[in-house]
């Protein structure tokens, strides 16, 4: 009589390894996917807390001073992610500058830029070219942008005085979008002093 056949070890090990690699791939894809929680909440008419409010970043043109969104609490904030190499950012810069002038005149808030994967010299040249007067944070490493799920430029988030997100524009903003969003953000009662 022949001895009982032994199970082949190598195919089992290879199979397990292949399964582990596929599992790793699936994990990478799932965790690298776009998080739409913020967009869904805003679309549903909610005002979710603006993420990353405590992340401090150096101010463009003054690396010694660091600011976070929390520093602008009590003001309407138009948070705009931009870069000098982004063509739509160039197109919307005059609109944002006009909005900054309106917000400043009304003492209502500010546009706050956040540079995205942009060399500081290029960002500064962009500001000079478009006569940008609003402040910008240098989001080196894109930690702040990651909090907002920013993958493509430009993207704009309008925050009310309580640091809640009122409107999102993933793409080039229009004056109409900004006017409506800011009106919505200002409609919220000011925080008690």
């Amino acid at each position: 009589m022949t001895a009982a056949r032994r199970r082949p070890v190598v195919p089992i090990v290879v199979g397990l390894l292949a399964a582990a690699l596929v599992g790793l791939l699936v994990y990478g894809v799932v965790h690298g996917g776009q998080d739409t929680t913020l967009d869904d909440a805003v679309k549903a008419g909610q005002r979710p807390d603006a993420p990353g409010q405590d992340i401090k970043r150096p101010l463009l043109g003054d690396d010694g001073r660091r600011r976070s969104l929390a520093d602008y609490r009590g003001q309407v904030v138009v948070l705009n992610f931009w870069a000098s190499w982004c063509e739509p950012c160039r197109a919307e810069a005059p609109i944002l500058q006009k909005t900054q002038a309106k917000l400043t005149a009304a003492h209502a808030g500010t546009v706050l830029g956040a540079t995205y994967n942009d060399a500081a010299d290029d960002s500064t040249a962009f500001e000079r070219e478009f006569k940008v007067s609003y402040p910008s944070l240098r989001d080196v490493g894109t930690d702040l942008a990651d909090e907002y799920g920013t993958r493509a430029l430009p993207e704009t988030f309008v925050l009310d005085r309580d640091g809640k997100v009122v409107a999102i524009s993933r793409g080039q903003v229009t004056q109409r979008f900004l006017d409506n969003a800011i009106a919505q953000a200002r409609a919220k009662a000011a925080p008690a002093s």
Partner: protein
């Protein structure tokens, strides 16, 4: 006086020659060198194969740094200061990036273990196969073997 003049001439020659030698010893970094080790941060692919406005801006920044006479290491440090750690082609050694370092190590270890288990068995099996002569029929009985010996003996010269 002539000796002093010769000495001054020698110093002048050395003053000109030494920086040139030092320059030759540290060749200028090329865009190609740096591109191979950094990423296009917005596209998530190596800069060497990236084609996007951000990649072009990054190349401009590298050229600017090369023009300033910076070494590859200094340029990479400057790029990290501008774009963060993600600009480096080597993955981070934490979170999911850690898998890039661990998976090859685990695979090599598994290959070694598999080799240590399978190879001795395979070699032993080969040895056994060589030890067993090819048998076309049943083994000879003692009587047949005796008869074969007697037959062969008759052919002895």
């Amino acid at each position: 006086m002539t000796r002093l003049r010769s000495l001054l001439l020698l110093i002048a020659v050395l003053a000109v020659a030494l920086p040139a030698t030092a320059h030759a010893a540290t060749p200028q970094t090329s865009l190609h060198d740096v591109e191979a080790e950094v990423m296009c941060v917005s596209c998530g692919v190596p800069l060497a194969i990236a084609d996007s406005p951000q990649a072009d801006a990054e190349r401009r920044e590298i050229r600017r740094l090369i023009a300033q006479g910076k070494t590859k290491g200094q340029i990479k440090d400057a790029l990290v200061a501008q774009y963060g750690d993600r600009v480096l082609a080597s993955p981070k050694d934490d979170g999911f990036g850690l898998a890039a370092y661990l998976v090859p190590i685990v695979l090599v270890l598994l290959a070694l273990v598999a080799g240590a288990v399978v190879l001795p068995k395979w070699r032993a099996k080969n040895r056994d196969d060589r030890a067993i002569p090819a048998a076309d029929g049943p083994r000879l009985t003692d009587a047949d073997a005796r008869r074969l010996d007697e037959d062969l003996a008759r052919y002895d010269v």
